[in-house]
Amino acid sequence: MKTAPFLPRVVHQCRAEWRHLFGMALLWLLLLAFRQWHQVQVVTTWNSTLMHADLEVWLDVALALLGAGLMWRCVSAESPSNTDTFSLTRPMGQKALWCGKLLFLFSALLVPALIVMGFHWRGFGLGVAQILALSGAVILAGTLLGAGAATLTALASSARQMIALAVLAVIGTGVWLVMPVDLSVESGNSALCGSLVGASFALLGLLAAWWLATVPRRRWNAAGVMLTTVVLAPFIAQAWKTDWITRPTLQYANAPKLGVKVGIADPADKAPGRGLWPTLRLTGLGKDEVASIIEFAPVLKNASWPPQGSFSDLPANQNGFGHWLHSDHTRALFKYYPPTALWRQNVNNSFYGRKTLPEVLQALRLKREEAIQQRWRLRLVVHELKRIATLPYRQFWSQPNSFLIRPGVRLEFNPYAWIREAWEMHGRVHRLSSAVLPVDAHHSAIARDRELGDNFLLVLEDRELRENLAISVPLVAREKNYYIYRNQSQLWQTDENQGFEVRAWQRAEQKVFLQRTLDEWIDQQDASLWHAEERGIVELELTPQQMAQVLAEPQPKEAKKP
């Protein structure tokens, strides 16, 4: 009698599993789809019933239970450790059985997950490499968890043993969690790389253990391999130091062209430069480029730089917000609007305007005479303001809007809604990419331990009255302390929503003098979105002679005439 070929047996087993577990597989697909839909709904609606129901954790728990249940039922149906099972006498062969189950688990668990998540990955401008990396992460995570559950099930000959092994696995995970882990920002990416390497190792080990338990039916060897894998994987992950994720910070490419002019500007000078202060100006900046001072302080001998009291346009974030744009960015937009337009702005509320030079000296506890003896260093970060879109403001009121900023980053707006006694527009910067394959070419600049991430200006332009309002989109800080910043990142996948809300009020003058209604006001406005795109960091040194001109001597007060 001739044995059926291997592949048809594998397919046959897979089909048998599908017939057996079709209901659970369908439920898995539906639950996955619902969870994905729910994730999108929760962030695109605010204050909705769905949001109050707070289902997120529970959906994750339900998915985990369902996934584990599916694995368990699939493997335990023909548990290799249970000699009573029918599988040992079936003309199937353990190898084909194992492969058939693997094929089933891939098609029933991972393929639906890939399909559902694939829908979610659309619209982010991601390339093939990113899609492959994201898919790989899903397959790795799914197979790892699946292989773990399958190995446990294969090792257990009864439900009771299965529970005992599961508990041991949970305890082991708990012990692993308790082990001290360096969670600093610097170690974050190398730990992520380590976790990928560790997980890949664990995947191979667990699959091998499952194979050993199923095909040659060597339970003790399988248990040994599984234990070795579980013990070694965390160590490999922690020992891994190579970080391929962290990108270098960007250096300003036009640095050689950048220069400073010091002293009071000569009215005859046709290129006086962009003023940081009236006596300190920058030349060579691009048309739409804006320089922000990260640090400005003297270089003191035998002391680290920057010293305490150093001046910065980008002070530490006090209020849990991640927006840092300031008046210079708004001013850079003036040239795109009528010159007589009346400008107002709502920018970062920890920025109260640039300090005057005497105030800078005061913060450094320096007198002018001391200050002009020193070399000073100026660390700048340059951003270029780029227009993303200009739309009628009505479009923001009535429909959701989404703008692709660059591959992996999207700016999303909900329509305005009457929430908490005000018109509010909620939205988010949505980042989606592989966490282990960087999508950006460089790392954002850091000022005072704060990452200067993507920032945006929303400019409302009243066409008729020529009144403009620049709103720095008030993104919440990405620090983990603030719960409104919703971080949905999962294993090796970045899926983050950095939220914000913009409130709108019609101007009182238009209401009381012009009797203009809210609708008329909305229809009269155009809204433009501007993105501050980083161009890089640059450092400039100022000699004592230059500083003597920057810190010009105060004019003596005229004596009162008798």
Partner: protein, 868 residues
């Protein structure tokens, strides 16, 4: 009995492998409670409620108690066994006792003993854990018969969802006032009672299921509903529980019985965040014993205006912590020093951040008719707190206070940073480890959490308001809670005027104040003709612009911008003129920082708006009714600008008597007319230069101006002030009785008919002042009146208050000027801003001993030897 034991053995045989899991969970809970794993971190990222740490252990306990052998699910097996139903359930209960209750009790005892707690506390902890498990068994044992296999896990997940998330969102959606879910879970007494109700229902369901087996869907719906039933009743604010039981209701009855409450000082204030217009007032009750304070709240408020009932603005917040917990808010509402005369001297001042809030009586709708008085039918409740000092310690690392039921230790003293890790000059942050008794029947952390105050004896200042950081908790459900957190005093500690420096920190003291909820009293009152004044501010304000876009002189930029606007023809349509005026006013708001003051309190950008006003005036003259638009704004500078503009319009219209102001500068206008008034010649002078007292009078002025411009006559202006006559003494007294001031007091004190009663009123109001450093109007004026009366304690109070006034605050100049006037009564010439700044610096050095009081002139004079 043998059969019971037989069944028990069977249960144990079935359950022991699962019990091993529970035992491991119990050990895990013990080591977590002891902080042998997951110890408190210096800078935590997350603060989890204590219960969360024990939740895994309890979930496993529930799973264990729900487990029954598969053969016992079917009725056939059970009814054919030679075992009565009573014996079966007795055996199952015994199994629960042996496997869960006893180990959990032992674990609780171990935690308390390891912490060195007294045996009485250990006994109580053990008993409460026993009760908790007994209550759980009430619903878990019957539940075991309803769920088999995977259904148990689904039931547990659904149950947890119902309890944790399902309940709160229902109340929120229904708009019903309810306790916050986390507050319910922190209250063991509430949880026990809620579980008992749910247990009864679960028992009934199990009986029903035994008689008429339910389908799977129905059975799985039950744990979801039961989870909600566990928490829902407990979320009702009035659901009884041990922790919120009044301690001495009889005492409350004794000192409140037959006493009338006084509701006074009504005010309406509004911010953009409010959903309506809050109506606030001060509520007083005389004869409250020392050490006791009320938290006033409104239970019912019926508002009538013009004979019509006014409906309150609908509330948007429905979550609460229950009535008794209101007392926990008192440290933010009133100074505690006067409640504890044995702990603090009588002149100790508390540095309270922000305004001391009066009782919010109602949230009025924003479309209420302005200017019309209200009739109020009020039912108020007072939740009473009795405070006591728990102990005191020096402000240094390692200092400890140990009371019988509370402990606190200072782990770190952090200067110039808040508990979020942000640099803040002058801030003081303490990292504390606290321990409190938290049994279900005896809780010293709820409803009132002890308050740690900072006491600076040198300047007799107290800090009692703190911003708390993330709480790291353990053991709340074991009877003694351990808590680690960082607290930052809201008011800067190391700021000028406080006398506290980095060098003398250890000389300051920390005083720990505990409290207990005595009970609640209820009071009714009717108030008629309540004048809500002119606190009307509309919602259509534009959010403030924090930074200037024009680095140059904003006054010049304002003029330049107005000049750049295309000017309509004077005969253009009203809409076109309105557009121009709106554009000018928009610019006015944009450049409002032209009115900013420098650090010497002098105008940073000297000048005025005369040039712009002259550009606008012709258009208002053409369309005077557009002046009505100027009334609809409450932002800084708007009124001053309108005063300037309206005056120019009146001058341009050549209204008789309207000329450039002599006293206030030529940009403002004075109206001066002399007319005979009822048999006598009265000279009346109306200066448009002064800010008018309120919206109503401003409305009258604008209406009169519009009529005057239209008619070209000053008759409407005269008519507006037609009732004006020289203020009689009675008028002054009426004003004084409504709003006490040092100036009017000095005037009335010279009038024999009014002297005694005005002095008595001022003294009475002074006695009621909260001992807070930064008083707002009208309390600040009462303090100034007391200073004018020669009260040295009041003078000391005022000096410290001025010394610590934030000079960057909008009202700084006004406060300094007013205080200066109260002390020295210098009217002409008024002190210059620079002199006032120097006055503030002097106040940091002076005390009442440096002054002598001149009773004749009712003012203070600096002793000669103190004068520089």
């Amino acid at each position: 009995m043998n059969l019971v034991l037989h069944q028990l053995r069977k249960e144990l045989r079935w359950l022991w492998p699962r019990w091993v899991v529970f035992f491991v969970a119990l050990i895990y809970d013990f080591v977590v409670q002891m902080q042998w794993v997951f110890p408190f971190l210096p800078k935590p990222d997350l603060g989890l409620p204590s219960l969360v740490w024990s939740l895994p252990m309890w979930i496993i306990a529930w799973w264990l108690l729900m487990n029954v052998p598969p053969e016992e699910h079917g009725m056939a097996f059970r009814v054919t066994r030679p075992l009565s139903r009573v014996q079966y359930w007795l055996a199952r209960m015994l199994a629960g006792v042996v496997l869960v209750m006893l180990p959990a009790m032992i674990e609780n005892a171990a935690v308390l003993l390891a912490q060195g707690r007294p045996w009485m506390d250990v006994a109580r902890g053990v008993a409460e854990t026993g009760i908790a498990v007994a209550v759980m068994m009430l619903w878990l044992l019957p539940a075991g018969t309803m769920f088999r296999g995977w259904e148990k896990y689904a039931a547990l997940v659904l149950f947890l969802y119902g309890a944790i998330d399902g309940a709160g969102s229902i109340w929120m959606k229904l708009g019903v006032v309810h306790r916050q879910a986390w507050w319910v879970m922190a209250n063991a007494s509430l949880m026990h009672r809620g579980a008992a109700i749910m247990g009864g229902l679960m028992l009934l369901s199990a009986f029903w299921h035994a008689r008429r087996p339910m389908g799977r869907l129905m059975r799985l719906a039950i744990p979801l509903v039961m989870g909600m039933v566990w928490v829902l009743p407990a979320q009702f604010p009035n659901f009884p529980n041990e922790i919120e039981q009044p301690v001495d209701e009889a005492l409350v009855k004794q000192f409140t019985r037959g006493k009338e409450i006084e509701v006074r000082s009504f005010e309406t204030a509004k911010s953009l965040e409010d959903d309506g217009l809050p109506l606030r007032a001060e509520v007083r009750l005389e004869g409250i014993p020392t050490g006791i304070a009320p938290y006033w709240r409104v239970e019912q408020c019926r508002i009538m205006q013009d004979g019509m009932e006014v409906k309150e603005a609908p509330r948007t917040r429905f979550d609460t912590r229950g009535d008794a917990s209101n007392v926990d808010a008192l440290p933010f509402q009133m100074p505690f020093t006067s409640l504890l005369p044995s702990s603090f001297p009588s002149d100790a001042l508390v540095l309270m951040q922000g305004r001391l809030e009066n009782v919010r009586l109602a949230m009025l709708p924003t479309d209420l008719k302005p200017g019309k008085p209200l009739d109020l039918d009020l039912r108020l409740a007072a939740d009473w707190l009795r405070v006591r000092e728990l102990g005191r310690m020096p402000l240094k690392v390692g200092a400890t206070i140990r009371a019988s039921e509370n402990e606190v230790e200072v782990l770190e003293v952090i200067v110039d940073a808040d508990n979020r890790g942000h640099e803040r000059k002058g801030a003081l942050t303490l990292r504390l480890r606290e321990r409190h008794v938290t049994f279900a029947g005896r809780n010293e952390a709820r409803p009132f959490m002890p308050v740690l105050c900072l006491w600076a004896a040198d300047k007799r200042l107290v800090w009692q308001q703190v911003m708390t950081g993330l709480d790291q908790q353990r053991g709340e459900n074991h009877g003694w809670m351990t808590l680690q957190r960082e607290v930052t005093f809201l008011w800067s500690v190391l700021s000028p005027g406080t006398g506290v420096t980095k060098e003398n920190l250890a000389q300051q003291e920390l005083v720990w104040i505990g409290g207990e909820y005595l009970g609640t009293s209820r009071h009714e009152t009717k108030l008629s003709n309540v004048d809500i004044g002119d606190g009307w501010r509309r919602k259509d304000q534009w959010p403030e612009t924090p930074a200037s876009l024009t680095p140059e002189n904003p006054r010049v930029a304002f003029v330049e911008h107005v000049k750049s606007l295309p000017k309509p023809d004077l005969k253009a349509s009203k809409a076109e003129i309105a557009r121009y005026i709106a554009a000018v006013y928009a610019a006015e708001v944009t450049y409002e920082h032209r009115e900013n003051l420098d650090e010497d309190l002098k105008p940073k950008w000297p000048g005025n708006d005369l040039e712009v006003a002259q550009m606008l005036a012709p258009y208002f003259r053409e369309q005077p009714e557009l002046l009505n638009g100027t009334l609809r704004k409450g932002m800084r500078g708007w009124y001053a600008f309108t005063d300037c503009v309206a005056g120019q319009v009146l001058q341009l219209a050549k209204i008789k008597g309207c000329t450039p102001s002599v006293s206030q500068g030529p940009h403002l206008t004075q109206y001066l007319a002399v007319r005979p008034v009822e048999g006598q010649t009265e000279t009346f002078q109306q200066r448009m230069a002064d800010p008018l007292p309120g919206l109503e009078s401003r409305e009258a002025f604008i209406q009169a101006s519009i009529e005057a411009i239209r008619s070209g006559s000053d008759e409407p202006l005269w008519r507006m002030s037609g009732n004006h006559r020289a203020r009689t003494d009675e008028d002054v007294w009426t004003d004084f009785s409504k709003s006490i001031s040092a100036g009017n007091l000095r005037y009335l004190a010279k009038k024999p008919a009014y002297r005694d009663k005005s002095v008595a009123l001022a003294r009475r109001e002074y006695e009621h002042l909260p001992m807070a450093c930064a008083l707002q109007q009208p309390e600040r004026w009462v303090l100034e009146a007391a200073v004018a009366l020669g009260d040295a304690r009041a003078l000391d109070w005022l000096l410290r208050s001025v010394a610590m006034k934030d000079i960057e605050h909008d009202d700084a100049l006004q406060v300094l000027e007013s205080a200066h006037g109260a002390m020295f009564d210098v009217q002409d010439p008024k002190p210059e801003p620079k002199a006032l700044r120097a006055f503030q610096l002097d106040c940091r050095k002076w005390s009442a001993k440096d002054f002598v009081y001149d009773a004749t002139k009712m003012r203070w004079e600096l002793k000669t030897e103190v004068k520089p």
